[in-house]
Amino acid sequence: MSEFEPKIITILCNWCTYGAADLAGVSRFQYPPNIRVIRVPCSGRVSPKMILSAFHNGADGIWISGCHPGDCHYITGNYYARRKFMLLKNFLEYNGIEQGRIHFSWISSAEGVKFAEVARDVVESVRKLGPAKYFIKKEFIDSNLCNCLNTDNNPDKNILEEQAA
């Protein structure tokens, strides 16, 4: 009933995995709706700052995906990404982040099926771990909640207003 639904920040490279996501959608492959996609020109564009920032803002998991090594639109971007991420993943785990919160994959724009599969795997592994415990900034989460409460279409706000009146 009230099973935990993880929020997963997903950063996809414009040329490969974003295309795969598009293909998966057009082909009507089913995958869980827990991912929030951010499109970047290349997986090499992704900085560790962004990954930590996602955790600060309440993400339960991160998934970054780009072109297969050797197929980068910018020739070498994903080699940089691969190096960076291998170190980052190990270092985050050394710091105490659980294995399975951060995922990296290489999916070409022809692999819609693989995209849906990996999306399911990522969501499942983060769901198993439960809500994020580390690198969360309290003030961000609180202010986001306040923003939600202040929007006009927020049912809670209407209730609050009714109670106030």
Partner: protein, 272 residues
């Protein structure tokens, strides 16, 4: 411990003799380099204002060369004072400093031809944070000087990074002021067991213990950025914590921001 460290026994007298010899050689070299105009400035150490401290010292006149000294408190990394300089610089380098100089040359922070490296074989630097009063030394001696003597000859008092040092002699130099010292040879088992002892200790912890271990370690951090200033590898024109559009890391002492700062700085230093 002495035999463990693969180093010969050293007593205070020997240390004093070595320090004196090194100091004399350093002054001599500094004078010669400045007179022969091999460099515009010599970077070395002078005595600090408190006992057991030294300060980095830049001299540009041969007559000032007698300010320079050498002892077991010259722990600062002088490679930090070289980066970005446009003049010709002579710098005094221990093994660790020389490795940083190599890094700066590779990363184009300084030109090799503008650098004159005075190599100093290093016997290890003393860890000032080890409290003399806590050890049994105090009960046995009365005067400050005697305390220091015992303190200096105890190899356990070395800085952690000196205990696990792999390059005590400079890896790059234009002249050496003394014969190289014996390097410690690590077998593979020793390397894994002893050299990375502290790393292994953390690796053996559970995830949550690891998280709290680093949190405890960073709990006293006030974000003064002295670590960034002292770091010979930190030379970004704009540090990621100073970026404001977008601001990825908060500037206050929120524990998560502090943690993020140290995490990303460490990551940034070993990647790229």
């Amino acid at each position: 411990m002495t035999t463990n460290l693969n180093q010969p026994d050293i007593n205070k007298k020997q240390i004093d003799t070595i320090n004196q010899q090194y100091t004399e050689k350093i002054r001599e070299a500094a004078k010669r380099i400045l007179l022969e105009k091999k460099a515009d400035v010599v970077i070395g150490f002078k005595n600090g204002t408190e006992p057991m401290t030294t300060e980095p010292c830049l001299i540009n006149k041969a007559s000032d060369a007698d300010k320079l000294i050498w002892n077991e408190h010259c722990c600062l990394n002088l490679a930090n004072y070289v980066k970005g300089r446009k003049d010709k610089v002579a710098v005094i380098a221990k093994g660790c400093d020389s490795r940083n100089l190599v890094n700066h040359i590779i990363e184009h922070q300084i030109k090799r031809e503008n650098l004159y490296i005075i190599g100093v074989p290093c016997n290890g630097m003393v860890d000032k944070s080890v409290n003399v009063k806590d050890s049994k030394v105090e009960a046995e001696s009365d005067t400050m000087q005697e305390n220091l003597d015992v303190f200096l000859t105890n190899r356990d008092m070395l800085q952690e990074n000196c205990k696990t040092c792999i390059k005590r002699n400079p890896v790059i130099f234009d002249e050496m002021i003394a014969e190289p010292v014996k390097e410690r040879v690590w077998t593979k088992e020793e390397k894994l067991k002893e050299r990375f002892e502290s790393v292994n200790k953390i690796e053996a912890m559970s995830e949550s213990d690891r998280w709290s271990f680093f949190n405890d370690m960073l709990s006293s951090c006030t974000r003064c950025y002295a670590c960034r200033n002292a770091c010979p590898l930190c030379y970004c024109p704009t540090c990621f914590v100073d970026e404001s559009r977008p601001q990825w890391v908060g500037k206050g002492v929120d524990p998560v921001d502090v943690r993020t700062y140290h995490f990303l700085r460490a990551f940034h230093l070993f990647h790229l």
